[in-house]
Subunit: 246 residues, 2 copies
Amino acid sequence: MDPCDSNPLSRKLGAFVVLSGDELSILAALHQRRRCFVAGRDLVRQGQSQHAAYILASGWVCSYKIQADGSRQIIDFQIPGDFLGLRSVLLRTSDHSFEPIVDCEAAEVSASDLIVAFEQAPRLAAAVLWAASRDEAMLVEHLVGVGRRAADARVAHFLLELCSRLALVGLGNREGFDCPLTQYHLADALGLSAVHVNRVLRSLRERKLATFRDNHVCFHDYDQLARMAGFDDTYLDQSLPLLRRP
Amino acid sequence: MDPCDSNPLSRKLGAFVVLSGDELSILAALHQRRRCFVAGRDLVRQGQSQHAAYILASGWVCSYKIQADGSRQIIDFQIPGDFLGLRSVLLRTSDHSFEPIVDCEAAEVSASDLIVAFEQAPRLAAAVLWAASRDEAMLVEHLVGVGRRAADARVAHFLLELCSRLALVGLGNREGFDCPLTQYHLADALGLSAVHVNRVLRSLRERKLATFRDNHVCFHDYDQLARMAGFDDTYLDQSLPLLRRP
DNA sequence: CGGCACGTTGAATGCCATCAAGTGGGGTGG
DNA sequence: CCACCCCACTTGATGGCATTCAACGTGCCG
Protein backbone atom coordinates (compact mmCIF):
# COMPACT_ATOMS: atom_id res chain seq x y z
CA MET A 1 0.00 0.00 0.00
CA ASP A 2 1.22 3.45 -0.86
CA PRO A 3 1.89 5.26 2.41
CA CYS A 4 0.46 8.42 0.92
CA ASP A 5 -2.98 6.91 0.81
CA SER A 6 -2.89 5.62 4.34
CA ASN A 7 -1.88 8.94 5.79
CA PRO A 8 -3.49 12.25 4.90
CA LEU A 9 -0.74 14.27 6.56
CA SER A 10 1.88 12.76 4.29
CA ARG A 11 -0.35 13.45 1.37
CA LYS A 12 -0.81 17.07 2.36
CA LEU A 13 2.86 17.76 3.03
CA GLY A 14 3.82 15.70 0.02
CA ALA A 15 1.88 18.07 -2.20
CA PHE A 16 4.47 20.73 -1.44
CA VAL A 17 7.66 18.95 -0.63
CA VAL A 18 8.89 15.80 -2.28
CA LEU A 19 9.20 13.48 0.69
CA SER A 20 11.78 10.75 0.82
CA GLY A 21 11.02 7.23 1.97
CA ASP A 22 12.71 7.92 5.27
CA GLU A 23 10.66 11.02 5.81
CA LEU A 24 7.49 9.15 4.99
CA SER A 25 8.22 6.47 7.54
CA ILE A 26 9.03 9.05 10.20
CA LEU A 27 5.67 10.64 9.52
CA ALA A 28 4.00 7.26 9.68
CA ALA A 29 5.69 6.59 13.01
CA LEU A 30 4.15 9.74 14.41
CA HIS A 31 0.77 8.09 13.90
CA GLN A 32 1.44 5.28 16.37
CA ARG A 33 -0.61 6.28 19.41
CA ARG A 34 -4.04 6.34 17.83
CA ARG A 35 -7.07 7.40 19.76
CA CYS A 36 -10.75 7.52 18.86
CA PHE A 37 -13.20 10.26 19.74
CA VAL A 38 -16.97 10.26 19.50
CA ALA A 39 -18.94 13.01 17.84
CA GLY A 40 -20.05 15.85 20.08
CA ARG A 41 -17.91 15.15 23.11
CA ASP A 42 -15.25 17.82 23.47
CA LEU A 43 -11.71 16.68 22.88
CA VAL A 44 -10.15 19.65 24.65
CA ARG A 45 -12.01 22.16 26.75
CA GLN A 46 -11.40 25.90 26.87
CA GLY A 47 -9.09 26.72 29.79
CA GLN A 48 -7.76 23.21 30.07
CA SER A 49 -4.02 22.91 30.35
CA GLN A 50 -1.51 20.16 29.89
CA HIS A 51 -3.14 18.40 26.99
CA ALA A 52 -1.56 16.70 24.02
CA ALA A 53 -1.54 17.70 20.38
CA TYR A 54 -3.08 15.48 17.72
CA ILE A 55 -2.84 14.72 14.06
CA LEU A 56 -6.29 14.08 12.69
CA ALA A 57 -6.36 10.81 10.73
CA SER A 58 -10.05 10.57 9.90
CA GLY A 59 -13.19 12.55 10.65
CA TRP A 60 -13.84 16.23 11.16
CA VAL A 61 -13.25 18.44 14.20
CA CYS A 62 -13.96 22.09 14.88
CA SER A 63 -12.20 24.52 17.19
CA TYR A 64 -14.39 27.14 18.78
CA LYS A 65 -14.73 29.68 21.50
CA ILE A 66 -17.80 30.14 23.68
CA GLN A 67 -18.75 33.53 25.01
CA ALA A 68 -20.37 34.47 28.28
CA ASP A 69 -23.74 35.04 26.59
CA GLY A 70 -23.65 31.52 25.15
CA SER A 71 -22.97 32.45 21.55
CA ARG A 72 -20.24 30.50 19.88
CA GLN A 73 -17.66 31.35 17.25
CA ILE A 74 -16.08 28.51 15.36
CA ILE A 75 -12.46 29.38 14.64
CA ASP A 76 -11.64 26.66 12.16
CA PHE A 77 -12.49 23.17 11.03
CA GLN A 78 -9.89 20.43 11.07
CA ILE A 79 -9.97 17.78 8.40
CA PRO A 80 -7.79 14.69 7.97
CA GLY A 81 -4.12 15.61 7.86
CA ASP A 82 -4.53 18.69 10.01
CA PHE A 83 -2.83 19.36 13.32
CA LEU A 84 -4.89 20.02 16.37
CA GLY A 85 -3.66 22.06 19.32
CA LEU A 86 -0.12 22.20 18.02
CA ARG A 87 0.67 25.58 19.46
CA SER A 88 -0.95 25.10 22.80
CA VAL A 89 0.98 21.93 23.53
CA LEU A 90 4.20 23.90 23.39
CA LEU A 91 3.26 27.05 25.13
CA ARG A 92 0.03 27.63 26.90
CA THR A 93 -3.22 26.40 28.24
CA SER A 94 -5.77 26.11 25.50
CA ASP A 95 -7.82 29.23 24.90
CA HIS A 96 -10.42 27.39 22.91
CA SER A 97 -12.21 24.06 22.70
CA PHE A 98 -12.17 21.24 20.17
CA GLU A 99 -15.26 19.28 19.30
CA PRO A 100 -15.39 16.23 17.03
CA ILE A 101 -18.13 16.75 14.46
CA VAL A 102 -18.26 13.08 13.60
CA ASP A 103 -16.59 10.10 15.19
CA CYS A 104 -12.95 10.43 14.41
CA GLU A 105 -9.51 9.02 14.81
CA ALA A 106 -6.43 11.01 15.76
CA ALA A 107 -2.82 10.30 16.60
CA GLU A 108 -1.57 11.78 19.83
CA VAL A 109 1.82 13.46 19.53
CA SER A 110 3.84 15.02 22.29
CA ALA A 111 6.24 17.90 21.97
CA SER A 112 9.13 15.49 22.34
CA ASP A 113 7.82 13.22 19.56
CA LEU A 114 7.89 16.20 17.26
CA ILE A 115 11.33 17.30 18.32
CA VAL A 116 12.73 13.84 17.69
CA ALA A 117 11.07 13.68 14.29
CA PHE A 118 12.44 17.08 13.34
CA GLU A 119 15.94 16.07 14.34
CA GLN A 120 15.74 12.99 12.19
CA ALA A 121 14.26 14.87 9.24
CA PRO A 122 14.77 18.62 9.38
CA ARG A 123 12.85 19.20 6.19
CA LEU A 124 9.78 17.94 8.00
CA ALA A 125 10.09 20.81 10.45
CA ALA A 126 9.97 23.29 7.63
CA ALA A 127 7.03 21.49 6.07
CA VAL A 128 5.11 21.52 9.35
CA LEU A 129 5.95 25.18 9.77
CA TRP A 130 4.58 25.74 6.30
CA ALA A 131 1.36 24.02 7.27
CA ALA A 132 1.06 26.15 10.38
CA SER A 133 1.64 29.26 8.34
CA ARG A 134 -1.07 28.20 5.91
CA ASP A 135 -3.45 27.69 8.83
CA GLU A 136 -2.82 31.22 9.94
CA ALA A 137 -3.38 32.55 6.43
CA MET A 138 -6.75 30.79 6.50
CA LEU A 139 -7.54 32.39 9.82
CA VAL A 140 -6.80 35.80 8.33
CA GLU A 141 -9.00 35.06 5.35
CA HIS A 142 -11.72 33.92 7.74
CA LEU A 143 -11.53 37.27 9.50
CA VAL A 144 -11.79 39.10 6.18
CA GLY A 145 -14.85 37.06 5.31
CA VAL A 146 -16.67 37.69 8.56
CA GLY A 147 -15.69 41.35 8.62
CA ARG A 148 -16.19 42.35 5.03
CA ARG A 149 -18.11 39.88 2.90
CA ALA A 150 -21.87 39.79 2.36
CA ALA A 151 -23.58 36.64 3.59
CA ASP A 152 -23.83 34.89 0.23
CA ALA A 153 -20.20 35.57 -0.72
CA ARG A 154 -19.18 34.51 2.77
CA VAL A 155 -20.90 31.15 2.53
CA ALA A 156 -19.63 30.60 -1.00
CA HIS A 157 -16.07 31.50 -0.06
CA PHE A 158 -16.20 29.15 2.86
CA LEU A 159 -17.34 26.22 0.73
CA LEU A 160 -14.68 26.90 -1.87
CA GLU A 161 -11.88 27.13 0.66
CA LEU A 162 -13.02 23.92 2.31
CA CYS A 163 -13.04 22.24 -1.08
CA SER A 164 -9.47 23.29 -1.81
CA ARG A 165 -8.32 21.95 1.52
CA LEU A 166 -10.14 18.67 1.05
CA ALA A 167 -8.86 18.28 -2.49
CA LEU A 168 -5.33 18.36 -1.12
CA VAL A 169 -5.95 15.16 0.81
CA GLY A 170 -8.06 13.55 -1.87
CA LEU A 171 -11.46 14.20 -0.35
CA GLY A 172 -12.92 16.56 -2.91
CA ASN A 173 -12.66 18.20 -6.32
CA ARG A 174 -14.32 20.90 -8.40
CA GLU A 175 -17.48 18.83 -8.58
CA GLY A 176 -18.01 18.89 -4.85
CA PHE A 177 -17.28 16.99 -1.64
CA ASP A 178 -18.85 15.12 1.26
CA CYS A 179 -19.44 17.35 4.24
CA PRO A 180 -20.79 16.30 7.66
CA LEU A 181 -21.40 19.88 8.85
CA THR A 182 -24.84 21.10 9.80
CA GLN A 183 -26.20 24.52 8.95
CA TYR A 184 -25.61 25.39 12.60
CA HIS A 185 -21.92 24.73 12.14
CA LEU A 186 -21.84 27.04 9.14
CA ALA A 187 -23.70 29.70 11.09
CA ASP A 188 -21.34 29.53 14.06
CA ALA A 189 -18.32 29.65 11.81
CA LEU A 190 -19.51 32.49 9.60
CA GLY A 191 -21.03 34.79 12.19
CA LEU A 192 -24.54 34.32 10.81
CA SER A 193 -27.74 32.85 12.22
CA ALA A 194 -28.68 29.33 11.23
CA VAL A 195 -31.92 30.60 9.73
CA HIS A 196 -30.06 32.98 7.47
CA VAL A 197 -27.58 30.32 6.41
CA ASN A 198 -30.53 28.28 5.33
CA ARG A 199 -31.85 31.14 3.19
CA VAL A 200 -28.45 31.79 1.65
CA LEU A 201 -28.06 28.13 0.75
CA ARG A 202 -31.46 28.17 -0.87
CA SER A 203 -30.44 31.22 -2.87
CA LEU A 204 -27.21 29.56 -4.02
CA ARG A 205 -29.23 26.53 -5.05
CA GLU A 206 -31.80 28.59 -6.94
CA ARG A 207 -29.07 30.52 -8.69
CA LYS A 208 -27.63 27.18 -9.80
CA LEU A 209 -24.29 27.85 -8.18
CA ALA A 210 -24.03 25.19 -5.51
CA THR A 211 -26.14 22.77 -3.52
CA PHE A 212 -25.51 21.64 0.03
CA ARG A 213 -27.85 18.83 0.94
CA ASP A 214 -27.69 15.41 2.58
CA ASN A 215 -24.14 15.91 3.77
CA HIS A 216 -22.85 16.66 0.32
CA VAL A 217 -21.75 19.89 -1.34
CA CYS A 218 -22.16 20.00 -5.09
CA PHE A 219 -20.81 22.85 -7.21
CA HIS A 220 -22.91 23.55 -10.30
CA ASP A 221 -20.85 26.43 -11.62
CA TYR A 222 -17.51 26.52 -9.87
CA ASP A 223 -16.08 29.44 -11.80
CA GLN A 224 -19.03 31.74 -11.36
CA LEU A 225 -19.25 30.82 -7.69
CA ALA A 226 -15.58 31.68 -7.25
CA ARG A 227 -16.12 34.99 -9.02
CA MET A 228 -19.12 35.84 -6.88
CA ALA A 229 -17.22 34.95 -3.69
CA GLY A 230 -14.06 36.79 -4.70
CA PHE A 231 -12.23 33.55 -4.09
CA ASP A 232 -8.55 33.69 -4.86
CA ASP A 233 -6.75 30.60 -3.64
CA THR A 234 -3.19 31.88 -3.80
CA TYR A 235 -3.13 32.09 -0.01
CA LEU A 236 -3.68 28.34 0.09
CA ASP A 237 -1.24 26.84 -2.34
CA GLN A 238 1.97 28.72 -2.18
CA SER A 239 4.75 26.27 -2.41
CA LEU A 240 7.65 26.34 -0.05
CA PRO A 241 10.47 28.38 -1.59
CA LEU A 242 13.00 26.91 0.82
CA LEU A 243 12.20 23.36 -0.12
CA ARG A 244 11.80 23.30 -3.83
CA ARG A 245 14.05 20.26 -4.13
CA PRO A 246 15.84 18.01 -1.66
CA MET B 1 20.27 53.89 30.75
CA ASP B 2 18.22 50.81 31.51
CA PRO B 3 18.09 48.76 28.30
CA CYS B 4 14.47 47.91 29.09
CA ASP B 5 13.46 51.48 28.55
CA SER B 6 15.30 51.92 25.30
CA ASN B 7 13.80 48.82 23.78
CA PRO B 8 10.12 47.93 23.90
CA LEU B 9 10.73 44.38 22.71
CA SER B 10 12.98 43.67 25.68
CA ARG B 11 10.39 45.19 27.92
CA LYS B 12 7.63 43.04 26.45
CA LEU B 13 9.55 39.78 26.59
CA GLY B 14 11.00 40.74 29.95
CA ALA B 15 7.51 40.86 31.40
CA PHE B 16 7.31 37.09 30.96
CA VAL B 17 10.83 35.81 31.13
CA VAL B 18 13.55 37.13 33.34
CA LEU B 19 16.17 38.11 30.78
CA SER B 20 19.85 37.98 31.56
CA GLY B 21 22.26 40.75 30.66
CA ASP B 22 23.57 38.69 27.76
CA GLU B 23 20.11 38.10 26.43
CA LEU B 24 19.33 41.79 26.68
CA SER B 25 22.38 42.75 24.69
CA ILE B 26 21.59 40.17 22.02
CA LEU B 27 18.13 41.69 21.72
CA ALA B 28 19.65 45.14 21.55
CA ALA B 29 22.00 43.97 18.80
CA LEU B 30 18.99 42.92 16.73
CA HIS B 31 17.99 46.57 16.64
CA GLN B 32 21.06 47.67 14.73
CA ARG B 33 19.76 48.21 11.21
CA ARG B 34 17.19 50.90 11.93
CA ARG B 35 14.97 52.26 9.24
CA CYS B 36 12.37 55.01 9.24
CA PHE B 37 9.01 54.95 7.52
CA VAL B 38 6.62 57.78 6.87
CA ALA B 39 2.93 57.61 7.72
CA GLY B 40 0.65 56.34 4.99
CA ARG B 41 3.22 54.88 2.62
CA ASP B 42 2.99 51.11 2.59
CA LEU B 43 5.90 49.27 4.12
CA VAL B 44 5.09 45.98 2.44
CA ARG B 45 2.56 45.50 -0.30
CA GLN B 46 0.17 42.56 -0.67
CA GLY B 47 1.68 39.97 -3.01
CA GLN B 48 5.21 41.28 -2.62
CA SER B 49 7.83 38.66 -1.96
CA GLN B 50 11.36 38.67 -0.66
CA HIS B 51 10.95 41.34 1.94
CA ALA B 52 12.51 41.60 5.38
CA ALA B 53 10.91 41.30 8.79
CA TYR B 54 10.99 44.17 11.24
CA ILE B 55 10.85 44.88 14.93
CA LEU B 56 8.86 48.02 15.50
CA ALA B 57 10.78 50.42 17.74
CA SER B 58 8.45 53.41 17.72
CA GLY B 59 5.18 54.38 16.05
CA TRP B 60 2.15 52.37 15.01
CA VAL B 61 1.60 50.16 11.96
CA CYS B 62 -1.41 48.23 10.75
CA SER B 63 -1.56 45.08 8.65
CA TYR B 64 -4.51 44.81 6.32
CA LYS B 65 -5.97 43.11 3.32
CA ILE B 66 -7.74 44.86 0.46
CA GLN B 67 -10.55 43.18 -1.41
CA ALA B 68 -11.50 43.42 -5.04
CA ASP B 69 -14.43 45.72 -4.25
CA GLY B 70 -12.09 48.13 -2.47
CA SER B 71 -13.19 47.40 1.07
CA ARG B 72 -10.42 46.82 3.53
CA GLN B 73 -10.04 44.62 6.57
CA ILE B 74 -7.40 45.52 9.09
CA ILE B 75 -5.94 42.33 10.52
CA ASP B 76 -3.99 43.76 13.40
CA PHE B 77 -2.18 46.81 14.69
CA GLN B 78 1.49 46.67 15.54
CA ILE B 79 2.79 48.75 18.41
CA PRO B 80 6.35 49.23 19.66
CA GLY B 81 7.97 45.91 20.52
CA ASP B 82 5.90 43.96 18.00
CA PHE B 83 7.23 41.89 15.12
CA LEU B 84 6.15 42.68 11.63
CA GLY B 85 6.09 40.13 8.84
CA LEU B 86 7.87 37.52 10.89
CA ARG B 87 6.10 34.58 9.32
CA SER B 88 6.34 35.72 5.75
CA VAL B 89 10.08 36.27 5.88
CA LEU B 90 10.56 32.60 6.61
CA LEU B 91 8.03 31.03 4.36
CA ARG B 92 6.01 32.87 1.81
CA THR B 93 5.25 35.98 -0.10
CA SER B 94 3.22 38.37 1.97
CA ASP B 95 -0.52 37.88 1.75
CA HIS B 96 -1.25 41.25 3.25
CA SER B 97 0.06 44.80 3.38
CA PHE B 98 1.58 46.90 6.14
CA GLU B 99 0.89 50.58 6.48
CA PRO B 100 2.58 52.92 8.97
CA ILE B 101 -0.13 54.89 10.76
CA VAL B 102 2.33 57.50 11.97
CA ASP B 103 5.96 58.07 11.14
CA CYS B 104 7.80 55.20 12.72
CA GLU B 105 11.10 53.52 13.27
CA ALA B 106 11.77 49.83 12.85
CA ALA B 107 14.74 47.50 12.96
CA GLU B 108 15.19 45.27 9.96
CA VAL B 109 15.99 41.67 10.84
CA SER B 110 16.71 38.83 8.48
CA ALA B 111 16.00 35.19 9.03
CA SER B 112 19.70 34.57 9.62
CA ASP B 113 19.91 37.34 12.24
CA LEU B 114 17.19 35.57 14.15
CA ILE B 115 18.77 32.17 13.81
CA VAL B 116 22.07 33.46 15.11
CA ALA B 117 20.36 35.17 18.03
CA PHE B 118 18.48 32.00 18.89
CA GLU B 119 21.65 29.94 18.83
CA GLN B 120 23.33 32.34 21.22
CA ALA B 121 20.32 32.51 23.52
CA PRO B 122 17.87 29.65 23.09
CA ARG B 123 15.47 31.04 25.67
CA LEU B 124 14.93 33.97 23.34
CA ALA B 125 13.56 31.60 20.74
CA ALA B 126 10.97 30.35 23.17
CA ALA B 127 10.12 33.89 24.20
CA VAL B 128 9.66 34.96 20.59
CA LEU B 129 7.56 31.88 19.96
CA TRP B 130 5.47 32.88 22.95
CA ALA B 131 4.98 36.34 21.46
CA ALA B 132 3.92 34.82 18.15
CA SER B 133 1.48 32.57 19.92
CA ARG B 134 0.01 35.53 21.76
CA ASP B 135 -0.41 37.33 18.44
CA GLU B 136 -2.38 34.42 17.13
CA ALA B 137 -4.55 34.34 20.25
CA MET B 138 -5.32 37.99 19.58
CA LEU B 139 -6.23 37.18 16.01
CA VAL B 140 -8.66 34.54 17.25
CA GLU B 141 -10.18 36.99 19.70
CA HIS B 142 -10.47 39.51 16.88
CA LEU B 143 -12.44 36.96 14.86
CA VAL B 144 -14.74 36.32 17.80
CA GLY B 145 -15.34 40.03 18.15
CA VAL B 146 -16.18 40.62 14.51
CA GLY B 147 -18.26 37.47 14.30
CA ARG B 148 -20.18 37.57 17.55
CA ARG B 149 -20.04 40.84 19.40
CA ALA B 150 -22.44 43.77 19.06
CA ALA B 151 -20.89 46.99 17.82
CA ASP B 152 -20.52 48.66 21.22
CA ALA B 153 -18.98 45.61 22.89
CA ARG B 154 -16.74 45.18 19.86
CA VAL B 155 -15.37 48.70 20.08
CA ALA B 156 -15.01 48.48 23.86
CA HIS B 157 -13.22 45.15 23.68
CA PHE B 158 -10.87 46.50 21.07
CA LEU B 159 -9.90 49.50 23.19
CA LEU B 160 -9.36 47.33 26.24
CA GLU B 161 -7.17 44.84 24.44
CA LEU B 162 -5.12 47.62 22.92
CA CYS B 163 -4.67 49.10 26.37
CA SER B 164 -3.38 45.82 27.79
CA ARG B 165 -0.88 45.51 24.99
CA LEU B 166 0.31 49.07 25.38
CA ALA B 167 0.57 48.74 29.14
CA LEU B 168 3.04 45.92 28.62
CA VAL B 169 5.49 48.29 26.96
CA GLY B 170 4.74 51.20 29.27
CA LEU B 171 2.48 53.15 26.90
CA GLY B 172 -0.80 52.94 28.79
CA ASN B 173 -2.64 52.02 31.97
CA ARG B 174 -6.19 51.68 33.31
CA GLU B 175 -6.66 55.42 32.97
CA GLY B 176 -6.17 55.40 29.23
CA PHE B 177 -3.54 55.78 26.50
CA ASP B 178 -2.46 57.87 23.54
CA CYS B 179 -3.80 56.53 20.28
CA PRO B 180 -3.06 57.86 16.78
CA LEU B 181 -5.81 55.86 15.09
CA THR B 182 -8.66 57.51 13.22
CA GLN B 183 -12.24 56.34 13.37
CA TYR B 184 -11.68 54.95 9.89
CA HIS B 185 -8.98 52.68 11.26
CA LEU B 186 -11.35 51.41 13.92
CA ALA B 187 -14.04 50.85 11.32
CA ASP B 188 -11.74 48.90 9.01
CA ALA B 189 -10.48 46.79 11.87
CA LEU B 190 -13.86 46.05 13.42
CA GLY B 191 -15.92 45.41 10.31
CA LEU B 192 -18.11 48.47 10.88
CA SER B 193 -18.68 51.68 8.94
CA ALA B 194 -16.86 54.78 10.09
CA VAL B 195 -20.20 56.50 10.63
CA HIS B 196 -21.32 53.79 12.99
CA VAL B 197 -18.03 53.80 14.87
CA ASN B 198 -18.62 57.47 15.46
CA ARG B 199 -22.06 56.77 16.92
CA VAL B 200 -20.78 53.99 19.12
CA LEU B 201 -18.02 56.21 20.48
CA ARG B 202 -20.57 58.86 21.25
CA SER B 203 -22.68 56.33 23.09
CA LEU B 204 -19.68 55.14 25.13
CA ARG B 205 -18.94 58.73 25.98
CA GLU B 206 -22.53 59.49 26.99
CA ARG B 207 -22.67 56.36 29.11
CA LYS B 208 -19.55 57.62 30.89
CA LEU B 209 -17.56 54.51 30.03
CA ALA B 210 -14.79 55.79 27.79
CA THR B 211 -13.85 58.77 25.65
CA PHE B 212 -11.77 58.67 22.48
CA ARG B 213 -10.93 62.17 21.38
CA ASP B 214 -7.92 64.13 20.19
CA ASN B 215 -5.77 61.04 19.81
CA HIS B 216 -6.34 59.93 23.36
CA VAL B 217 -8.44 57.17 24.87
CA CYS B 218 -9.65 57.78 28.38
CA PHE B 219 -11.44 55.12 30.43
CA HIS B 220 -13.99 56.54 32.85
CA ASP B 221 -15.16 53.25 34.29
CA TYR B 222 -12.72 50.51 33.36
CA ASP B 223 -14.46 47.71 35.24
CA GLN B 224 -17.92 48.36 33.88
CA LEU B 225 -16.50 48.75 30.38
CA ALA B 226 -14.74 45.41 30.71
CA ARG B 227 -17.96 43.80 31.93
CA MET B 228 -19.96 45.25 29.06
CA ALA B 229 -17.36 44.10 26.54
CA GLY B 230 -16.99 40.65 28.02
CA PHE B 231 -13.28 41.36 28.23
CA ASP B 232 -11.25 38.61 29.83
CA ASP B 233 -7.55 39.18 29.40
CA THR B 234 -6.30 35.71 30.26
CA TYR B 235 -5.54 35.13 26.59
CA LEU B 236 -3.06 37.99 26.76
CA ASP B 237 -0.99 37.44 29.84
CA GLN B 238 -0.34 33.77 30.23
CA SER B 239 3.16 33.30 31.41
CA LEU B 240 5.48 30.86 29.77
CA PRO B 241 5.41 27.57 31.68
CA LEU B 242 8.62 26.42 30.06
CA LEU B 243 10.56 29.45 31.14
CA ARG B 244 9.55 30.11 34.68
CA ARG B 245 13.15 30.39 35.74
CA PRO B 246 16.50 30.23 33.98
C1' DC C 1 -45.53 6.56 19.37
C1' DG C 2 -43.13 10.51 21.17
C1' DG C 3 -38.93 12.93 21.35
C1' DC C 4 -35.24 15.10 19.21
C1' DA C 5 -32.17 17.17 15.88
C1' DC C 6 -31.93 19.33 11.66
C1' DG C 7 -33.97 21.75 8.06
C1' DT C 8 -37.39 25.01 6.08
C1' DT C 9 -40.31 28.98 5.62
C1' DG C 10 -42.96 33.32 7.03
C1' DA C 11 -43.41 37.71 9.45
C1' DA C 12 -41.75 41.41 12.21
C1' DT C 13 -38.11 43.85 14.31
C1' DG C 14 -33.74 46.10 14.54
C1' DC C 15 -29.01 46.93 13.92
C1' DC C 16 -26.02 48.87 11.05
C1' DA C 17 -24.83 50.60 6.19
C1' DT C 18 -25.45 54.08 3.05
C1' DC C 19 -26.38 58.62 1.46
C1' DA C 20 -26.15 63.28 2.39
C1' DA C 21 -24.86 67.53 4.50
C1' DG C 22 -22.37 70.20 7.58
C1' DT C 23 -18.55 71.46 11.21
C1' DG C 24 -13.90 72.56 12.36
C1' DG C 25 -8.87 72.38 12.38
C1' DG C 26 -4.54 72.46 9.83
C1' DG C 27 -1.95 73.18 5.87
C1' DT C 28 -1.03 75.60 1.45
C1' DG C 29 -0.81 79.10 -1.80
C1' DG C 30 -2.26 83.36 -3.56
C1' DC D 1 -3.73 87.38 6.01
C1' DC D 2 -7.31 85.26 4.04
C1' DA D 3 -9.31 81.93 0.81
C1' DC D 4 -9.32 77.45 -0.16
C1' DC D 5 -9.07 72.67 0.38
C1' DC D 6 -8.65 68.44 2.58
C1' DC D 7 -9.26 65.37 6.18
C1' DA D 8 -11.37 63.80 10.27
C1' DC D 9 -15.29 64.01 12.68
C1' DT D 10 -20.37 64.65 13.40
C1' DT D 11 -25.31 64.18 12.85
C1' DG D 12 -29.80 63.15 10.51
C1' DA D 13 -32.67 60.40 7.38
C1' DT D 14 -33.59 56.29 4.95
C1' DG D 15 -33.41 51.64 3.77
C1' DG D 16 -31.69 46.91 3.62
C1' DC D 17 -29.73 42.90 5.25
C1' DA D 18 -29.75 39.81 8.80
C1' DT D 19 -31.70 38.54 13.37
C1' DT D 20 -35.29 36.93 16.09
C1' DC D 21 -39.51 34.63 17.03
C1' DA D 22 -42.53 31.27 15.65
C1' DA D 23 -44.36 27.36 13.40
C1' DC D 24 -44.06 23.32 10.83
C1' DG D 25 -41.93 19.34 8.15
C1' DT D 26 -39.00 15.33 8.09
C1' DG D 27 -36.18 11.52 9.26
C1' DC D 28 -34.13 8.92 12.92
C1' DC D 29 -34.03 6.45 17.13
C1' DG D 30 -35.23 4.85 21.66
